[in-house]
Amino acid sequence: METKTSPFLLTKDQLSKILHEIPAGYIKPTDPLLVATMPPLPPYQKLGVLVERDDIVDAGQSTISSQSCNKNIPTSVTQSYTCAECKRTLPTAHLLDLHITEQHDTYFAASVERGDKPMFSCYLEECTFKMHTAKERKDHCITVHKFPPNYRFDQSKSKAYHEKSRNEASMDVDELAGPTHNKIPYIKAFSFGHYTQRTFNTRRERREPGTTLLDVQDMKDALEDMD
């Protein structure tokens, strides 16, 4: 940009006259006087990216190897944040924090149950709103922050999964002792072509809760009789 130089300096009176005509106060970005002086930076040019494929593979491998070396330490540059309890991997510290609090903290669960104050923080760290339920949080994220309904780092999803897996892993004894025992339908065991029964007999009559102890007592009595 060429600049015209001027050898003449303005006198105080001339300056005062000029200043009298110039607007004072706050300059808004939309000020018409500024339009003529656009920022001298070149306009932004959209650019794509192309990375040498081998480099990506190398990076991935190095990352994976570093992950395998340092399990459960969320401080390395190339690591995700992994829950030590259930091994769920989350991309940010905030999401891991929410996960640990909401899934593994009994104090949090008790506070939610009491319901006197909102406990569920927004998925966005910068948002300070707190909600009473996970559903309220989900609605908030969808309406206010334009989250997709199937947000992939949703904690409630993992809770459902967590409960399901816990049910699958739990012992039969616990289930039988529960009040819902009578509601569970009897399912015939699948044989997959092997007709010989190699397990305990599953067709035994179902016992009422508490009968097991009586059986043990019977057993003891029987043993005493044998003596």
């Binding site: 303005l10 004072a24 932004y44 794509g48 192309l50 990375v51 190339t78 991309p91 998925y123």
Partner: protein, 370 residues
């Protein structure tokens, strides 16, 4: 004997320490190598001009890839690499992909999956996909925007940078997509990256600054009061000597936080003034320096206009000297900006003593006023 045993212990400790240092150095080298991988950047269609031997990928190829990834409900690294390649070659490939329902969702799935390599590929795919027109960028913002914004907090450098580049492409294309991204609290995340102290691991200041610059240029009126408040609260966190500091004054000026968040800015006025002071020491030779100085003058003008309670002593040191140095540059637009600043200072001081010391060169446009 005891001397021998103590020396053996010292040797063992020495070895242990050396081994630890070696291990640390090895890991550091590996991390630096990972983050130092070069990424070539191309505009839409430019790749054909740059690399003549490139394999041409047509709309038919894109359709084939889309059919495959939709059928399998996941995309391999190969698929995504070819897609990125195809997007770089032309807008017709981008539009063909955008028109296929469910294709973007597969990329989103890979972007949020557990496989790190596929996450990289998906992010780079999105970056090239964002070279498309407004409707494409709006689609990305709606379906993947949340994750792109979330990934501002992650540690993987390549993934983070690809997401920043994608966001910059989107922000420069569509106001509707920008609105969506702003609702996802993009501004605080960008501000955090921008103001982070520069070191080997925090190298995103420039990319974050470009995103903020794009928002300040075309979407400043779309900013929420929360976004402005966040900037005003954290306005002092940017170091004047830090990377991409040339954008700082422009962002402050365009977002109007001085007027809309007066109280918060007044608290940080000392930092703002010292930043202005540093900027005004620029040599005005390069476009970047000019940009920095012009907006520093404008911000300074607004500081003087807004904070009438500022003590005169707090105004920048050697004010007359600095003003005369800038007037001597004889840049017409800068001189007009400086005169607005002088008028505000005179109003604040309620005297015209300052004029006795100023040396302002006359320009053609000034003849109208004299």
């Amino acid at each position: 004997m005891s001397d021998n045993s103590s020396s053996t212990t010292v040797k063992l400790e020495d070895n242990f320490l050396r081994q630890k240092v070696r291990e640390y150095a090895r890991r550091q080298r590996q991390e630096l190598r990972t983050s130092a991988t070069d990424a070539l950047r191309f505009g839409l269609g430019k790749i054909k001009e740059e690399i003549k031997e490139i394999e041409h990928l047509s709309v038919k190829d894109v359709n084939g890839l889309v059919a495959r990834i939709k059928r399998r409900k996941h995309a391999t690294s190969d698929d995504m690499y070819r897609l990125s390649y195809a997007f770089l070659q032309g807008n017709e490939n981008i539009n063909a992909f955008a028109d296929k329902q469910g294709a973007v969702q597969v990329l989103v799935k890979e972007l949020t999956g557990t496989d790190l390599t596929r996450r990289f590929d998906a992010a780079e795919c999105f970056c090239n996909f964002s070279l498309g027109e407004a409707h494409v960028c709006e689609k990305i913002a709606t379906l993947a925007g949340t994750y792109l914004v979330t990934y501002m907090d992650i540690k993987e450098p390549r993934l983070k940078r690809s997401c920043l580049w994608t966001l910059a492409n989107i922000l420069s294309t569509s106001n509707k997509a920008t609105t969506t991204l702003l609702q996802m609290q993009l501004v605080p995340k960008l501000w955090k990256l921008y103001t982070a102290p520069a070191d080997d691991l925090n190298v995103y200041q420039e990319d974050a600054a470009i995103c903020l610059y794009l928002i300040a240029t075309s979407a400043a009126d779309l900013l929420s009061s929360e976004d402005r408040r966040y900037i005003a609260e954290h306005v002092h966190e940017k170091c004047a000597s830090g990377p991409a500091s040339e954008y700082y004054m422009y962002i402050i000026f365009q977002t109007e936080i001085l007027r809309l968040e007066q109280e918060l800015c007044l608290r940080n006025s000392k930092n703002l003034l010292s930043f202005v002071e540093t900027c005004l020491q620029g040599d005005f030779k390069t476009p970047t320096e000019k940009f920095k100085v012009i907006y520093a003058v404008r911000v300074f003008t607004n500081i003087v206009a807004t904070f009438t309670c500022i003590d005169n002593a707090k105004l920048i040191k050697n004010l007359v000297e600095t003003l005369n140095r800038l007037f001597a540059l004889q840049d017409e637009s800068l001189t007009m900006d400086l005169l607005r600043l002088v008028k505000n200072i005179m109003n604040l001081q309620q005297s015209d003593k300052l004029l006795d010391h100023l040396q302002v060169h006359a320009f053609g446009s000034m003849q109208l006023y004299i």
